[in-house]
Protein backbone atom coordinates (compact mmCIF):
# COMPACT_ATOMS: atom_id res chain seq x y z
CA UNK A 1 0.00 0.00 0.00
CA UNK A 2 0.97 3.62 -0.34
CA UNK A 3 1.50 5.09 3.06
CA UNK A 4 0.37 8.61 3.63
CA UNK A 5 2.99 10.03 5.93
CA UNK A 6 0.94 12.98 6.99
CA UNK A 7 -1.18 10.59 9.02
CA UNK A 8 0.71 9.92 12.27
CA UNK A 9 -0.27 6.26 12.38
CA UNK A 10 0.99 5.57 8.95
CA UNK A 11 4.15 7.56 9.62
CA UNK A 12 4.80 5.33 12.58
CA UNK A 13 4.17 2.29 10.44
CA UNK A 14 6.69 3.54 7.95
CA UNK A 15 9.26 4.16 10.65
CA UNK A 16 8.50 1.11 12.75
CA UNK A 17 11.62 -1.01 12.09
CA UNK A 18 13.89 1.86 13.06
CA UNK A 19 11.85 2.58 16.13
CA UNK A 20 11.88 -1.08 17.05
CA UNK A 21 15.64 -1.05 16.99
CA UNK A 22 15.87 2.18 18.96
CA UNK A 23 13.41 1.01 21.54
CA UNK A 24 15.11 -2.33 21.94
CA UNK A 25 18.45 -0.63 22.27
CA UNK A 26 17.10 1.60 25.06
CA UNK A 27 15.79 -1.36 26.97
CA UNK A 28 19.18 -3.07 26.64
CA UNK A 29 20.84 0.13 27.81
CA UNK A 30 18.70 0.11 30.91
CA UNK A 31 19.51 -3.53 31.48
CA UNK A 32 23.22 -2.94 31.15
CA UNK A 33 23.10 0.03 33.50
CA UNK A 34 21.09 -1.92 36.04
CA UNK A 35 23.55 -4.74 36.56
CA UNK A 36 27.19 -4.50 37.60
CA UNK A 37 29.70 -4.73 34.78
CA UNK A 38 30.87 -8.23 34.11
CA UNK A 39 32.07 -10.46 31.34
CA UNK A 40 28.85 -12.46 31.44
CA UNK A 41 26.70 -9.38 31.20
CA UNK A 42 28.69 -8.12 28.25
CA UNK A 43 28.11 -11.40 26.49
CA UNK A 44 24.44 -11.56 27.34
CA UNK A 45 23.82 -8.04 26.14
CA UNK A 46 25.68 -8.92 22.99
CA UNK A 47 23.54 -11.97 22.35
CA UNK A 48 20.42 -9.97 23.09
CA UNK A 49 21.59 -7.31 20.64
CA UNK A 50 22.05 -9.90 17.94
CA UNK A 51 18.59 -11.25 18.61
CA UNK A 52 17.24 -7.73 18.39
CA UNK A 53 18.96 -7.20 15.06
CA UNK A 54 17.55 -10.44 13.74
CA UNK A 55 14.11 -9.39 14.87
CA UNK A 56 14.45 -6.10 13.09
CA UNK A 57 15.66 -7.94 10.05
CA UNK A 58 12.59 -10.18 10.09
CA UNK A 59 10.41 -7.11 10.41
CA UNK A 60 12.09 -5.61 7.41
CA UNK A 61 11.56 -8.81 5.50
CA UNK A 62 7.89 -8.49 6.34
CA UNK A 63 7.87 -4.96 4.99
CA UNK A 64 9.60 -6.10 1.86
CA UNK A 65 6.98 -8.74 1.43
CA UNK A 66 4.19 -6.18 1.92
CA UNK A 67 5.72 -4.01 -0.78
CA UNK A 68 4.62 -0.72 0.77
CA UNK A 69 5.60 2.59 -0.64
CA UNK A 70 5.09 6.15 0.45
CA UNK A 71 4.06 9.42 -1.02
CA UNK A 72 5.84 12.69 -0.49
CA UNK A 73 7.10 12.99 3.05
CA UNK A 74 10.10 12.86 5.30
CA UNK A 75 10.45 9.08 5.20
CA UNK A 76 11.10 6.89 2.19
CA UNK A 77 9.47 3.49 2.06
CA UNK A 78 11.18 1.61 -0.72
CA UNK A 79 13.38 -1.30 -1.47
CA UNK A 80 16.49 0.82 -1.48
CA UNK A 81 15.91 1.55 2.18
CA UNK A 82 15.19 -2.05 3.09
CA UNK A 83 18.14 -3.43 1.22
CA UNK A 84 20.43 -0.92 2.82
CA UNK A 85 18.97 -1.77 6.22
CA UNK A 86 19.71 -5.43 5.68
CA UNK A 87 23.31 -4.58 4.83
CA UNK A 88 23.58 -2.49 8.01
CA UNK A 89 22.09 -5.26 10.10
CA UNK A 90 24.46 -7.85 8.68
CA UNK A 91 27.38 -5.59 9.51
CA UNK A 92 25.96 -4.91 12.97
CA UNK A 93 25.48 -8.57 13.78
CA UNK A 94 28.99 -9.31 12.58
CA UNK A 95 30.43 -6.46 14.61
CA UNK A 96 28.66 -7.45 17.79
CA UNK A 97 29.67 -11.07 17.34
CA UNK A 98 33.29 -10.06 16.94
CA UNK A 99 33.02 -7.58 19.80
CA UNK A 100 31.95 -10.24 22.27
CA UNK A 101 35.12 -12.22 21.76
CA UNK A 102 37.24 -9.13 21.40
CA UNK A 103 35.91 -7.47 24.56
CA UNK A 104 36.44 -10.64 26.51
CA UNK A 105 40.06 -10.77 25.49
CA UNK A 106 40.77 -7.09 25.97
CA UNK A 107 38.99 -7.00 29.32
CA UNK A 108 36.40 -4.53 28.14
CA UNK A 109 33.47 -5.34 30.33
CA UNK A 110 31.34 -2.35 29.44
CA UNK A 111 28.16 -3.93 28.03
CA UNK A 112 26.97 -0.61 26.65
CA UNK A 113 29.43 -1.00 23.78
CA UNK A 114 26.94 -3.27 22.03
CA UNK A 115 24.13 -0.87 22.77
CA UNK A 116 26.12 1.98 21.25
CA UNK A 117 26.51 -0.10 18.11
CA UNK A 118 22.77 -0.56 18.04
CA UNK A 119 22.24 3.19 18.40
CA UNK A 120 24.64 3.88 15.61
CA UNK A 121 22.80 1.34 13.47
CA UNK A 122 19.50 3.00 14.20
CA UNK A 123 21.09 6.24 13.02
CA UNK A 124 22.09 4.47 9.83
CA UNK A 125 18.62 3.12 9.27
CA UNK A 126 17.33 6.62 9.76
CA UNK A 127 19.78 7.84 7.14
CA UNK A 128 18.66 5.19 4.70
CA UNK A 129 15.08 6.16 5.30
CA UNK A 130 15.60 9.91 5.13
CA UNK A 131 13.81 11.80 2.46
CA UNK A 132 14.34 15.14 4.07
CA UNK A 133 17.59 16.92 4.74
CA UNK A 134 16.55 17.37 8.34
CA UNK A 135 16.19 13.61 8.78
CA UNK A 136 19.47 13.17 6.90
CA UNK A 137 21.21 15.41 9.39
CA UNK A 138 19.52 13.74 12.31
CA UNK A 139 20.51 10.28 11.15
CA UNK A 140 24.09 11.29 10.42
CA UNK A 141 24.45 12.76 13.86
CA UNK A 142 22.85 9.85 15.70
CA UNK A 143 25.28 7.56 13.96
CA UNK A 144 28.31 9.80 14.30
CA UNK A 145 27.96 10.64 17.98
CA UNK A 146 27.69 6.95 18.78
CA UNK A 147 30.66 6.03 16.64
CA UNK A 148 32.82 8.80 18.17
CA UNK A 149 32.30 7.09 21.48
CA UNK A 150 32.83 3.62 20.06
CA UNK A 151 36.17 4.64 18.60
CA UNK A 152 37.35 5.53 22.10
CA UNK A 153 35.77 2.53 23.71
CA UNK A 154 38.98 1.04 24.98
CA UNK A 155 39.70 3.56 27.70
CA UNK A 156 43.01 2.04 28.65
CA UNK A 157 44.37 2.38 25.15
CA UNK A 158 46.03 5.65 24.30
CA UNK A 159 45.63 4.94 20.62
CA UNK A 160 41.94 4.39 21.00
CA UNK A 161 41.58 7.73 22.77
CA UNK A 162 43.60 9.47 20.10
CA UNK A 163 41.49 7.88 17.39
CA UNK A 164 38.34 9.04 19.06
CA UNK A 165 39.63 12.57 19.44
CA UNK A 166 40.71 12.83 15.82
CA UNK A 167 37.52 11.34 14.58
CA UNK A 168 35.45 13.61 16.73
CA UNK A 169 37.21 16.87 15.92
CA UNK A 170 37.42 16.25 12.19
CA UNK A 171 33.94 14.76 12.12
CA UNK A 172 32.47 17.78 13.82
CA UNK A 173 34.44 20.04 11.52
CA UNK A 174 33.06 18.28 8.45
CA UNK A 175 29.57 18.37 9.94
CA UNK A 176 29.90 22.12 9.73
CA UNK A 177 30.36 21.89 5.97
CA UNK A 178 27.53 19.40 5.62
CA UNK A 179 25.24 21.63 7.56
CA UNK A 180 26.22 24.74 5.66
CA UNK A 181 25.55 22.83 2.47
CA UNK A 182 22.11 21.89 3.73
CA UNK A 183 21.46 25.48 4.62
CA UNK A 184 22.44 26.75 1.21
CA UNK A 185 20.42 24.10 -0.62
CA UNK A 186 17.50 25.00 1.58
CA UNK A 187 18.08 28.62 0.78
CA UNK A 188 18.17 27.94 -2.92
CA UNK A 189 15.29 25.47 -3.14
CA UNK A 190 13.16 26.72 -0.30
CA UNK A 191 12.56 23.27 1.10
CA UNK A 192 14.47 20.48 2.79
CA UNK A 193 12.39 17.71 1.29
CA UNK A 194 14.45 15.75 -1.20
CA UNK A 195 11.66 15.09 -3.68
CA UNK A 196 10.66 18.72 -3.69
CA UNK A 197 14.25 19.83 -4.07
CA UNK A 198 14.53 17.38 -6.93
CA UNK A 199 11.59 19.05 -8.61
CA UNK A 200 12.86 22.53 -8.04
CA UNK A 201 16.53 22.30 -8.97
CA UNK A 202 15.52 21.88 -12.55
CA UNK A 203 13.48 25.05 -12.61
CA UNK A 204 14.88 28.14 -14.24
CA UNK A 205 16.33 30.57 -11.75
CA UNK A 206 17.25 27.85 -9.36
CA UNK A 207 19.15 25.61 -11.69
CA UNK A 208 22.66 26.94 -11.92
CA UNK A 209 22.27 29.44 -9.09
CA UNK A 210 25.47 29.96 -7.20
CA UNK A 211 23.85 29.20 -3.88
CA UNK A 212 22.61 25.83 -5.07
CA UNK A 213 25.90 24.90 -6.62
CA UNK A 214 27.93 25.83 -3.57
CA UNK A 215 25.39 24.03 -1.41
CA UNK A 216 25.73 20.87 -3.47
CA UNK A 217 29.49 21.16 -3.33
CA UNK A 218 29.48 21.51 0.45
CA UNK A 219 27.14 18.53 0.77
CA UNK A 220 29.50 16.58 -1.39
CA UNK A 221 32.31 17.49 0.97
CA UNK A 222 30.28 16.55 4.00
CA UNK A 223 29.36 13.14 2.65
CA UNK A 224 32.81 12.78 1.18
CA UNK A 225 34.24 13.03 4.65
CA UNK A 226 31.90 10.40 6.04
CA UNK A 227 32.68 7.91 3.29
CA UNK A 228 36.37 8.90 3.34
CA UNK A 229 36.94 10.19 -0.16
CA UNK A 230 40.37 11.58 -0.89
CA UNK A 231 41.31 14.27 0.04
CA UNK A 232 38.81 14.14 2.91
CA UNK A 233 40.05 10.73 3.94
CA UNK A 234 42.94 11.53 6.20
CA UNK A 235 41.13 10.77 9.42
CA UNK A 236 40.33 7.25 8.28
CA UNK A 237 43.68 5.44 8.56
CA UNK A 238 44.42 6.85 11.99
CA UNK A 239 40.97 6.17 13.34
CA UNK A 240 40.79 2.70 11.84
CA UNK A 241 44.10 1.83 13.35
CA UNK A 242 43.39 3.22 16.77
CA UNK A 243 39.82 2.06 17.22
CA UNK A 244 39.07 -1.38 18.69
CA UNK A 245 39.20 -3.86 15.83
CA UNK A 246 35.50 -4.80 15.71
CA UNK A 247 34.64 -1.12 15.72
CA UNK A 248 37.03 -0.61 12.84
CA UNK A 249 35.18 -3.33 11.00
CA UNK A 250 31.96 -1.56 11.81
CA UNK A 251 33.25 1.75 10.54
CA UNK A 252 34.68 0.22 7.41
CA UNK A 253 31.55 -1.73 6.62
CA UNK A 254 28.44 -0.18 8.12
CA UNK A 255 29.33 3.48 8.56
CA UNK A 256 30.62 3.68 5.07
CA UNK A 257 27.60 1.86 3.69
CA UNK A 258 25.21 4.16 5.52
CA UNK A 259 26.96 7.31 4.47
CA UNK A 260 26.94 6.10 0.90
CA UNK A 261 23.29 5.12 1.07
CA UNK A 262 22.21 8.56 2.12
CA UNK A 263 24.70 10.14 -0.25
CA UNK A 264 23.25 8.25 -3.17
CA UNK A 265 19.69 8.95 -2.18
CA UNK A 266 20.30 12.69 -1.82
CA UNK A 267 22.14 12.77 -5.06
CA UNK A 268 19.64 10.84 -7.12
CA UNK A 269 16.50 12.21 -5.60
CA UNK A 270 17.48 15.79 -5.10
CA UNK A 271 20.27 16.60 -7.50
CA UNK A 272 19.77 14.30 -10.44
CA UNK A 273 18.87 17.13 -12.74
CA UNK A 274 21.77 19.23 -11.52
CA UNK A 275 24.33 16.73 -12.66
CA UNK A 276 26.13 19.46 -14.56
CA UNK A 277 27.10 20.95 -11.27
CA UNK A 278 28.47 17.87 -9.61
CA UNK A 279 29.42 15.33 -12.20
CA UNK A 280 32.89 16.75 -12.81
CA UNK A 281 33.91 16.95 -9.16
CA UNK A 282 32.43 13.53 -8.40
CA UNK A 283 34.26 12.05 -11.35
CA UNK A 284 37.54 13.50 -10.22
CA UNK A 285 36.97 12.59 -6.61
CA UNK A 286 36.37 9.01 -7.69
CA UNK A 287 39.57 8.91 -9.69
CA UNK A 288 41.67 10.57 -7.00
CA UNK A 289 40.19 8.37 -4.30
CA UNK A 290 40.76 5.15 -6.19
CA UNK A 291 44.30 6.16 -6.98
CA UNK A 292 45.28 7.55 -3.59
CA UNK A 293 43.69 4.78 -1.56
CA UNK A 294 45.27 2.02 -3.54
CA UNK A 295 48.66 3.57 -3.92
CA UNK A 296 49.13 4.58 -0.31
CA UNK A 297 47.90 1.19 0.82
CA UNK A 298 50.94 -0.29 -0.88
CA UNK A 299 53.18 1.31 1.70
CA UNK A 300 51.35 -0.01 4.74
CA UNK A 301 52.75 -2.49 7.21
CA UNK A 302 49.93 -2.56 9.74
CA UNK A 303 47.04 -4.65 8.52
CA UNK A 304 44.34 -2.44 9.99
CA UNK A 305 45.88 0.61 8.40
CA UNK A 306 46.20 -1.26 5.14
CA UNK A 307 42.54 -2.14 5.24
CA UNK A 308 41.77 1.47 6.05
CA UNK A 309 43.39 2.62 2.84
CA UNK A 310 41.74 -0.24 1.06
CA UNK A 311 38.38 0.97 2.32
CA UNK A 312 39.23 4.41 0.96
CA UNK A 313 39.90 2.81 -2.39
CA UNK A 314 36.59 1.01 -2.22
CA UNK A 315 34.89 4.30 -1.50
CA UNK A 316 36.31 5.39 -4.80
CA UNK A 317 34.87 2.36 -6.58
CA UNK A 318 31.47 2.93 -5.03
CA UNK A 319 31.61 6.58 -5.96
CA UNK A 320 31.81 5.44 -9.56
CA UNK A 321 28.28 4.13 -9.11
CA UNK A 322 27.23 7.55 -7.82
CA UNK A 323 28.85 9.21 -10.76
CA UNK A 324 26.94 6.96 -13.14
CA UNK A 325 23.68 7.74 -11.41
CA UNK A 326 21.39 5.28 -13.20
CA UNK A 327 18.97 2.88 -11.48
CA UNK A 328 21.19 0.03 -12.60
CA UNK A 329 24.09 1.76 -10.94
CA UNK A 330 22.24 2.08 -7.68
CA UNK A 331 21.44 -1.62 -7.80
CA UNK A 332 25.09 -2.33 -8.50
CA UNK A 333 25.93 0.04 -5.69
CA UNK A 334 23.84 -1.90 -3.22
CA UNK A 335 25.24 -5.20 -4.43
CA UNK A 336 28.71 -3.81 -3.97
CA UNK A 337 27.96 -2.68 -0.44
CA UNK A 338 26.73 -6.15 0.42
CA UNK A 339 29.79 -7.87 -1.01
CA UNK A 340 32.16 -5.36 0.48
CA UNK A 341 30.52 -5.65 3.88
CA UNK A 342 30.91 -9.42 3.95
CA UNK A 343 34.53 -9.32 2.83
CA UNK A 344 35.40 -6.57 5.30
CA UNK A 345 33.73 -8.31 8.20
CA UNK A 346 35.52 -11.53 7.36
CA UNK A 347 38.89 -9.87 7.05
CA UNK A 348 38.49 -8.05 10.35
CA UNK A 349 37.28 -11.28 11.85
CA UNK A 350 40.60 -12.85 10.99
CA UNK A 351 42.38 -9.86 12.47
CA UNK A 352 40.37 -10.18 15.68
CA UNK A 353 41.19 -13.86 15.78
CA UNK A 354 44.91 -13.25 15.51
CA UNK A 355 45.25 -10.03 17.49
CA UNK A 356 46.85 -10.21 20.92
CA UNK A 357 45.68 -8.32 23.96
CA UNK A 358 46.80 -4.74 23.88
CA UNK A 359 47.10 -4.58 20.11
CA UNK A 360 49.86 -7.06 19.33
CA UNK A 361 50.16 -9.12 16.14
CA UNK A 362 48.77 -6.44 13.91
CA UNK A 363 51.66 -6.15 11.52
CA UNK A 364 51.21 -7.95 8.24
CA UNK A 365 54.53 -9.62 8.85
CA UNK A 366 53.10 -11.26 11.93
CA UNK A 367 50.98 -13.39 9.64
CA UNK A 368 54.03 -15.07 8.12
CA UNK A 369 53.50 -18.77 7.65
CA UNK A 370 49.99 -18.66 9.02
CA UNK A 371 49.09 -21.29 6.47
CA UNK A 372 51.35 -23.84 8.04
CA UNK A 373 49.67 -23.55 11.41
CA UNK A 374 46.10 -22.56 10.60
CA UNK A 375 45.44 -23.54 6.99
CA UNK A 376 41.73 -22.89 6.95
CA UNK A 377 42.07 -19.52 8.63
CA UNK A 378 44.69 -18.54 6.08
CA UNK A 379 42.50 -19.82 3.28
CA UNK A 380 39.57 -17.77 4.55
CA UNK A 381 41.74 -14.66 4.75
CA UNK A 382 42.88 -15.33 1.21
CA UNK A 383 39.27 -15.47 0.13
CA UNK A 384 38.57 -12.13 1.79
CA UNK A 385 41.59 -10.52 0.22
CA UNK A 386 40.65 -11.84 -3.20
CA UNK A 387 37.08 -10.73 -2.69
CA UNK A 388 38.29 -7.24 -1.90
CA UNK A 389 40.52 -7.46 -4.93
CA UNK A 390 37.54 -8.54 -7.01
CA UNK A 391 38.86 -11.81 -8.29
CA UNK A 392 36.48 -14.30 -9.89
CA UNK A 393 35.53 -17.60 -8.21
CA UNK A 394 38.18 -17.48 -5.49
CA UNK A 395 37.15 -13.96 -4.58
CA UNK A 396 33.55 -14.96 -5.04
CA UNK A 397 30.99 -12.24 -4.96
CA UNK A 398 33.65 -9.55 -4.78
CA UNK A 399 34.24 -10.03 -8.45
CA UNK A 400 30.63 -9.65 -9.41
CA UNK A 401 30.38 -6.52 -7.30
CA UNK A 402 33.02 -4.85 -9.41
CA UNK A 403 31.60 -6.46 -12.50
CA UNK A 404 28.22 -4.88 -11.98
CA UNK A 405 29.64 -1.45 -11.40
CA UNK A 406 31.67 -1.69 -14.57
CA UNK A 407 28.67 -3.00 -16.42
CA UNK A 408 26.47 -0.15 -15.34
CA UNK A 409 29.26 2.29 -16.13
CA UNK A 410 29.36 1.00 -19.68
CA UNK A 411 25.61 0.65 -19.95
CA UNK A 412 24.77 4.18 -18.84
CA UNK A 413 23.25 6.44 -21.48
CA UNK A 414 26.55 8.30 -21.42
CA UNK A 415 28.99 5.44 -20.90
CA UNK A 416 31.63 6.05 -18.27
CA UNK A 417 34.20 3.93 -20.05
CA UNK A 418 37.18 5.89 -18.84
CA UNK A 419 36.03 5.64 -15.26
CA UNK A 420 35.66 1.87 -15.70
CA UNK A 421 39.18 1.67 -17.05
CA UNK A 422 40.54 3.67 -14.15
CA UNK A 423 38.64 1.37 -11.84
CA UNK A 424 40.24 -1.76 -13.24
CA UNK A 425 43.69 -0.22 -13.43
CA UNK A 426 43.63 0.86 -9.82
CA UNK A 427 42.30 -2.60 -8.95
CA UNK A 428 45.50 -3.98 -10.38
CA UNK A 429 47.43 -1.73 -8.01
CA UNK A 430 45.38 -3.14 -5.17
CA UNK A 431 46.59 -6.63 -6.07
CA UNK A 432 49.95 -5.39 -4.84
CA UNK A 433 48.83 -5.18 -1.23
CA UNK A 434 46.04 -7.74 -1.07
CA UNK A 435 48.28 -10.38 -2.49
CA UNK A 436 51.03 -9.24 -0.18
CA UNK A 437 48.92 -10.49 2.68
CA UNK A 438 48.26 -13.74 0.87
CA UNK A 439 51.94 -14.05 0.05
CA UNK A 440 52.99 -13.49 3.65
CA UNK A 441 50.53 -16.05 4.93
CA UNK A 442 51.30 -18.72 2.38
CA UNK A 443 54.78 -18.18 1.07
CA UNK A 444 56.81 -16.95 4.01
CA UNK A 445 57.93 -19.42 6.61
CA UNK A 446 56.59 -19.05 10.13
CA UNK A 447 59.14 -16.79 11.77
CA UNK A 448 61.26 -18.02 14.64
CA UNK A 449 59.64 -17.39 17.98
CA UNK A 450 56.31 -16.51 16.43
CA UNK A 451 53.50 -16.37 18.91
CA UNK A 452 51.37 -19.47 18.87
CA UNK A 453 47.90 -18.84 17.52
CA UNK A 454 45.48 -19.18 20.43
CA UNK A 455 42.13 -20.87 20.19
CA UNK A 456 39.67 -18.73 18.30
CA UNK A 457 36.41 -17.72 19.89
CA UNK A 458 33.23 -19.29 18.62
CA UNK A 459 31.61 -16.04 17.50
CA UNK A 460 34.71 -15.04 15.59
CA UNK A 461 34.79 -18.41 13.92
CA UNK A 462 31.18 -17.97 13.01
CA UNK A 463 31.76 -14.59 11.40
CA UNK A 464 34.79 -15.78 9.48
CA UNK A 465 33.25 -19.00 8.28
CA UNK A 466 29.91 -17.49 7.38
CA UNK A 467 31.54 -14.66 5.44
CA UNK A 468 33.88 -16.95 3.57
CA UNK A 469 31.24 -19.48 2.66
CA UNK A 470 28.75 -16.84 1.61
CA UNK A 471 31.32 -15.01 -0.45
CA UNK A 472 32.34 -18.10 -2.37
CA UNK A 473 28.86 -19.55 -2.70
CA UNK A 474 27.34 -16.31 -3.87
CA UNK A 475 30.32 -15.87 -6.12
CA UNK A 476 29.43 -19.01 -7.99
CA UNK A 477 25.68 -18.47 -8.02
CA UNK A 478 25.08 -14.75 -7.60
CA UNK A 479 21.83 -14.61 -9.48
CA UNK A 480 19.39 -14.60 -6.59
CA UNK A 481 21.23 -11.95 -4.62
CA UNK A 482 21.64 -9.88 -7.71
CA UNK A 483 17.93 -10.04 -8.40
CA UNK A 484 17.20 -9.08 -4.85
CA UNK A 485 19.45 -6.06 -4.89
CA UNK A 486 18.32 -5.10 -8.33
CA UNK A 487 14.92 -4.24 -6.95
CA UNK A 488 16.55 -1.65 -4.77
CA UNK A 489 17.53 0.19 -7.91
CA UNK A 490 14.03 0.13 -9.31
CA UNK A 491 12.81 2.69 -6.83
CA UNK A 492 10.41 5.08 -8.54
CA UNK A 493 12.81 7.86 -9.38
CA UNK A 494 11.28 11.05 -8.23
CA UNK A 495 13.03 13.33 -10.59
CA UNK A 496 15.56 11.35 -12.46
CA UNK A 497 15.59 12.93 -15.82
CA UNK A 498 18.29 11.47 -18.01
CA UNK A 499 21.38 12.35 -16.11
CA UNK A 500 23.65 11.46 -18.82
CA UNK A 501 22.52 13.73 -21.54
CA UNK A 502 24.12 16.66 -19.85
CA UNK A 503 27.43 15.04 -18.95
CA UNK A 504 30.60 16.69 -20.10
CA UNK A 505 32.04 15.23 -23.22
CA UNK A 506 35.46 14.47 -21.87
CA UNK A 507 34.15 11.73 -19.66
CA UNK A 508 33.06 9.54 -22.49
CA UNK A 509 35.06 7.48 -24.82
CA UNK A 510 33.97 7.46 -28.36
Amino acid sequence: MILDLSIPGQLITAFAPDMLLMGGAMILLLWSAWRPESEALQRNIGIASIILCVTVGVTIAYYVARGDSSGVGVIAVDNFRWTADIVFLIATIGTIALSMDYNAREGITAPESHVLVLFATSGMMTMAAARDLMIVFLGVEIMSVAVYVLAGLDRRSEKSAEAALKYFLLGAFSTGFLLYGIALVYGAAGTTNLSLIGERVGQPGIAGSAMLIVGIALLLIGFGFKVALAPFHMWAPDVYEGAPTPITAYMAAAVKAAAFAVFLRVWLEAFATASDAWHGPVWWLAVVTMAAGNIIALAQKNIKRMLAYSSIAHAGYILVAVAIGTPAASAAFMFYLLAYTMATLGAFGVIVALERRGGGQLQIEDYAGLWTVRPWLAAAMAVFMLALLGFPIFGGIGFFAKYWIIQSALQAPAPQTLLAVVLVLTSVVSAGYYLHVVMVMFMRPRSEGAVAVPPIGGWTRFVIAASAILIVALGILPNSVARWTQRSGNRPPVATAPVAAALPANSTVR
Partner: protein, 97 residues
Protein backbone atom coordinates in the same frame (compact mmCIF):
# COMPACT_ATOMS: atom_id res chain seq x y z
CA UNK B 1 18.46 42.01 4.79
CA UNK B 2 18.94 38.46 3.62
CA UNK B 3 22.20 39.22 1.87
CA UNK B 4 23.67 40.91 4.93
CA UNK B 5 22.63 38.03 7.17
CA UNK B 6 24.15 35.51 4.82
CA UNK B 7 27.31 37.54 4.56
CA UNK B 8 27.71 37.68 8.30
CA UNK B 9 26.98 33.99 8.45
CA UNK B 10 29.67 33.29 5.86
CA UNK B 11 32.19 35.47 7.66
CA UNK B 12 31.49 33.77 10.96
CA UNK B 13 31.78 30.37 9.29
CA UNK B 14 35.10 31.33 7.79
CA UNK B 15 36.37 32.58 11.13
CA UNK B 16 35.43 29.20 12.54
CA UNK B 17 37.27 27.37 9.79
CA UNK B 18 40.35 29.52 10.18
CA UNK B 19 40.23 28.97 13.90
CA UNK B 20 40.18 25.22 13.41
CA UNK B 21 43.10 25.50 11.07
CA UNK B 22 45.40 27.65 13.14
CA UNK B 23 44.69 26.69 16.72
CA UNK B 24 46.30 23.70 18.39
CA UNK B 25 44.24 23.28 21.52
CA UNK B 26 41.51 20.67 21.19
CA UNK B 27 39.03 22.63 23.30
CA UNK B 28 39.50 25.77 21.28
CA UNK B 29 39.18 23.90 18.05
CA UNK B 30 35.95 22.43 19.26
CA UNK B 31 34.72 25.90 20.13
CA UNK B 32 35.56 27.03 16.63
CA UNK B 33 33.49 24.16 15.26
CA UNK B 34 30.62 25.33 17.43
CA UNK B 35 31.08 28.77 15.92
CA UNK B 36 30.75 27.25 12.44
CA UNK B 37 27.54 25.50 13.41
CA UNK B 38 26.09 28.66 14.83
CA UNK B 39 27.08 30.59 11.74
CA UNK B 40 25.02 28.13 9.73
CA UNK B 41 22.17 28.59 12.20
CA UNK B 42 22.20 32.26 11.34
CA UNK B 43 21.68 31.38 7.71
CA UNK B 44 18.83 29.07 8.57
CA UNK B 45 17.14 31.78 10.54
CA UNK B 46 17.60 34.22 7.73
CA UNK B 47 16.14 31.81 5.19
CA UNK B 48 13.25 30.97 7.42
CA UNK B 49 12.05 34.54 7.06
CA UNK B 50 11.30 33.70 3.46
CA UNK B 51 10.40 30.03 3.50
CA UNK B 52 8.62 29.53 6.78
CA UNK B 53 9.28 27.69 10.00
CA UNK B 54 11.36 24.85 8.55
CA UNK B 55 14.61 26.78 9.05
CA UNK B 56 13.84 27.56 12.62
CA UNK B 57 13.06 23.93 13.34
CA UNK B 58 16.38 23.08 11.82
CA UNK B 59 18.13 25.55 14.13
CA UNK B 60 16.63 23.93 17.16
CA UNK B 61 17.66 20.54 15.85
CA UNK B 62 21.22 21.75 15.30
CA UNK B 63 21.42 23.20 18.79
CA UNK B 64 20.28 19.92 20.28
CA UNK B 65 22.74 17.95 18.26
CA UNK B 66 25.52 20.37 19.13
CA UNK B 67 24.78 19.91 22.78
CA UNK B 68 24.99 16.14 22.44
CA UNK B 69 28.17 16.48 20.48
CA UNK B 70 29.65 18.74 23.11
CA UNK B 71 28.90 16.19 25.81
CA UNK B 72 30.57 13.39 23.90
CA UNK B 73 33.38 15.58 22.69
CA UNK B 74 34.36 16.87 26.08
CA UNK B 75 34.32 13.33 27.42
CA UNK B 76 36.69 12.26 24.67
CA UNK B 77 38.95 15.23 25.36
CA UNK B 78 39.04 14.30 29.02
CA UNK B 79 39.88 10.78 28.10
CA UNK B 80 42.87 11.85 26.04
CA UNK B 81 43.92 14.28 28.77
CA UNK B 82 44.08 11.39 31.21
CA UNK B 83 46.59 9.66 28.98
CA UNK B 84 48.61 12.64 27.88
CA UNK B 85 48.17 15.39 30.44
CA UNK B 86 47.73 17.71 27.46
CA UNK B 87 45.14 18.56 24.89
CA UNK B 88 47.56 20.12 22.46
CA UNK B 89 46.99 18.34 19.14
CA UNK B 90 50.58 18.99 18.13
CA UNK B 91 51.65 16.32 20.58
CA UNK B 92 48.95 13.83 19.84
CA UNK B 93 50.30 11.92 16.86
CA UNK B 94 50.78 8.35 17.92
CA UNK B 95 48.80 7.27 14.88
CA UNK B 96 50.33 8.21 11.57
CA UNK B 97 51.71 6.89 8.29
Amino acid sequence: MLAESLAISAVLFTIGVVGVLIRRNAIIIFMCVELMLNAVNLSFVAFSRYYGAEGQVFVLLVMTVAAAEAAVGLAIIISIFRHRQTVNLQNINLLKG
